[in-house]
Amino acid sequence: MNTIDTFLNEHEHKNLLRFITCGSVDDGKSTLIGRLLYDSKLIYEDQLSSLQDASAKNGTTGAGEIDYALLLDGLKAEREQGITIDVAYRYFATPQRKFIIADTPGHEQYTRNMATGASTANLAVILIDARYGVVTQTRRHAFIASLLGIGHLLVAVNKMDIGGYQEETFLQIRQAFQDFARKLDIPDIRYVPISALKGTNVVTRTPQATPWYEGPSLLEILETVDVSSDLNQRDLRFPVQVVLRPHLNFRGFAGSVVSGTVAPGDRIRVLPSNVTSTVARVVTAEGDLPEAFAPQAVTVELADEVDISSGDMIVHENNRPQVKDRFEAVVIWMSETPLKAGDRYLVRHAGRFVKARIDAVLYAVDVNTMEQRQAESLGLNGIGRVVVETTQPLYLDAYAANRATGSLILVDPLSNVTAGAAMVTDDVFVDTDAPRVVGDAAALLRDHVDRREFHWETGLVSAKDRLLRNRHVGKTVLVTGARAQAVQRFGKELELRLFKLNLNSYYLGYASLARGLASDVRDIRSEHDAQVQRLGELARILTDAGMIFITAIPEADAFTVERLKVLNAPNELLVVSLERDARRPVPAEAALDEAAEIAQNVDVVLALLADHRVIPEYCI
């Protein structure tokens, strides 16, 4: 009984290594994992017996040999196709350590799966077939591993048995990999010659086969590699998940210490409020802790009554993350719908969802050659650098400095599917404070409107609520024409008629604007543009408020009308033109005869408004 007691207690206190295995279908990856599991005695007898049935049907190894690969492929479709198409997690333990393997496929289309597996891994095992050496796929795997911040690489040169365990082969492959890996930022790379099939240098060293190899076996490396320094233990980041308030005398902030440490007495700062306080207690169900460190899940009580909600972040008073609503990141795209500039997503970062918009795609990276190329969009499995803009600032660190606060996912706001993963980088291409470079005036304005709409803060009253009360929706009507007097008079008549119909209407003359809202514009060259801009913004606001807003600009040119239309987005502008002859100065929805009765012309516009479902039919 004592032995079991010891076994269980040892099991409990082992440390944990999470690693991924990457290799192509034929590299013998599944065989290697099968052997690790088998030799660590975790393959139970009945799994073996069902394996023998399946081997007869699909097995690719010779008669009498167990196909270790079949242990792993869980799902029916995959068993039929013979390739692994998703990340599978496996567990085994040795007396030294417990292991979680993320078994990721090497198939070309499945970059996203490897990124998924790599995101939680400390180490990557990269399998190379000794017969083919470093191939495109090897480079891809190493690149993705480095991208996801894996600090330890174990390059296993497999199938050494086929060539008779030639040292030369191993050295050549090692050299080739080293030459390539110089470009990657991976501090710790080890090499081991193995045969997964024969078990050479997998669990124990096999000097009989490779007398020239003096290093440890693959499993020995896995058991001893030191990953304790991988976690950021310097910068306290504590995203609050839940506020616990079981009774009046307790108000605790529950969350995980994702990096750094926290202890009673620490001076802290709460983001976004910037309020400072002192940690009173670090509470757990087992009692208070003198200190908590990553990845412990605890509840923090503060000395002062501070208003904190789920999604806020507690940090040390003088160690702040970057607080940004515009930043650069490297994205791995995982959706069939390509990622483009202007697209809207939800960002999930450090426990909260925030609305986001892709400001720009800076470039794409070829996963095989690591070369950058210009790109408008990123397709499925695409990798590239983008500028992300969010409606609220995020509390960020660069991914290289902090995996927890430097990572985020992008979620499609309609389907809710996780569409991509991103790692925050230092800003290189974008000076966030500098004015942005945009091609021409129209694009600049559209971009302005896009950002304005993105950041638009809506109240609790919806457009539909307003419609139900007002019986009509908001609209901006621009009246133009050759004669200023006729244009103004018509605008006022339209306002009056709508008002008498119990509809909310408001007329603003262009002159009132120039002396009011736009009176600060002094520069004669930009005066008109600035006035139009203010009018456009005002129209947007009043339309949103449910008003039928009428304004009159005599002799408005096509450029002015276009600007007002863009500024009024997402609402549409109704342009009415009073004409004297057949000449049409602007594209207008209604070209009215200036000489006709005003009441008659107003009727035409009312019909048009009813047509556009702005006002109810019965008004006309």
Binding site: M1, I4, L8, N9, H11, E12, H13, K14, N15, L16, K41, Y44, E45, D46, Q47, D53, L72, G74, L75, K76, A77, D86, A88, Y89, R90, Y91, A93, K98, D103, N113, A115, T116, S119, T120, S228, Q233, Q241, V242, L244, R245, P246, F250, G252, A254, S256, T261, V283, T284, P295, A297, M334, R348, G351, R403, S407, I409, V411, S415, T418, A421
Partner: protein, 300 residues
């Protein structure tokens, strides 16, 4: 350098998952199966919200054929722990007398477990349900996400699961859709036993060996738990020292012969016997890919 032991890391991860899910869900619930994994799940949930109470109910799907000791344990455990227990059974099935003998294990499981579960989730309008499944239990579960998406019909589509990176879980759903959350995903059988041991977590006595009335059937010992048990011609209950590696509906759950009376005995036996625990569940043997099939249909 400060590091956590692997069991403490698993515990921290599970607590993180509980809190994250609660911060995202409108109306979460915990699926309570009475088994040892459920007991662990409840303990972790309690730790996650300590010193508060669980911010959700626990839901038990009663197939009406559970071991009597399970039901007794459930009621005692939930009362002691102060849990808000909801028990749901397929009343239509109960009225029709649906049982594993006449309907076969497949149809019975579908009607009394899968359908009952789907109905309970739908009527309770739960958008998120915690479950105690582990990835090391069975092959098709090795690829299961921690946050597993279920469509409007509560079905699991292995091709339509969301990528899951870091610990940035995505529980967003549209109306009618839901998410199953598995905080024990990364725990192994040994982890569960050791945790029960060090935390002193109560579990159903059926896990420990005792003399029980059983019949041999298809290479397994089936316990005659009450007089509804249908005996085949020639079958005679005999008393044997047995215990159960997993708990479910008694006519479908095989016992193993054992004298293991403590957790240490059980672990020792497990290490020697090496029969994967789910092999004692009859339903898994229906066809080669049976668990995957059941998951697609909505079974946990």
């Amino acid at each position: 350098m400060k590091t956590l032991s692997q069991l403490k890391q698993l515990e921290a991860e599970s607590i993180h998952i509980f809190r994250d899910a609660v911060s995202q869900a409108q109306n979460p619930v915990l699926l309570y199966s009475i088994g040892k994994d459920s007991s662990v799940l409840v303990r972790l949930a309690q730790k996650a919200f300590y010193p508060g109470r669980l911010p959700f109910s626990v839901l038990h799907i009663d197939s009406t054929w559970k071991f009597r000791e399970m039901i007794a344990f459930r009621d005692r455990f939930c009362a002691e722990q102060g849990l808000d227990l909801i028990v749901h059974a397929n009343e239509e099935g109960r009225a029709k007398g649906v049982n594993p003998f006449d309907y076969g294990s497949r149809a019975y499981t579908d009607i009394m477990k899968t359908q009952a579960l789907l109905h309970a989730l739908k009527t309770g309008k739960f958008d998120l349900a915690f479950g105690g499944a582990r990835r090391d239990e069975e092959k098709s579960r090795a690829k299961e996400r921690v946050f597993s998406f279920r469509d409007r019909h509560q079905q699991w589509d292995p091709k339509n699961q969301r990528p899951e990176l870091w610990n940035l879980y995505n529980a967003r759903v549209n109306p009618g859709e839901s998410v199953r959350v598995f905080p024990l995903s990364n725990w192994t059988e040994t982890d569960i036993w050791q945790y029960i041991r060090v935390e002193n977590i109560p579990i159903v006595p059926l896990y420990f060996a005792a003399p029980r009335p059983v019949v041999a059937r298809d290479g397994q010992w089936i316990m005659v738990d009450d007089d509804r048990m249908r005996l085949e011609p020639g079958e005679r209950p005999q008393e044997r020292w047995v215990r159960f590696r997993t708990l479910g509906c008694y006519p479908l759950t095989g016992a193993v012969e054992s004298r293991a009376a403590t957790i240490e005995d059980i672990v020792a036996e497990t290490m020697q016997v090496r029969v994967s625990e789910r092999s004692t569940r009859v339903i898994d043997h229906d066809s080669d890919s049976s668990m995957e099939q059941k998951k697609r249909e909505g079974y946990f």
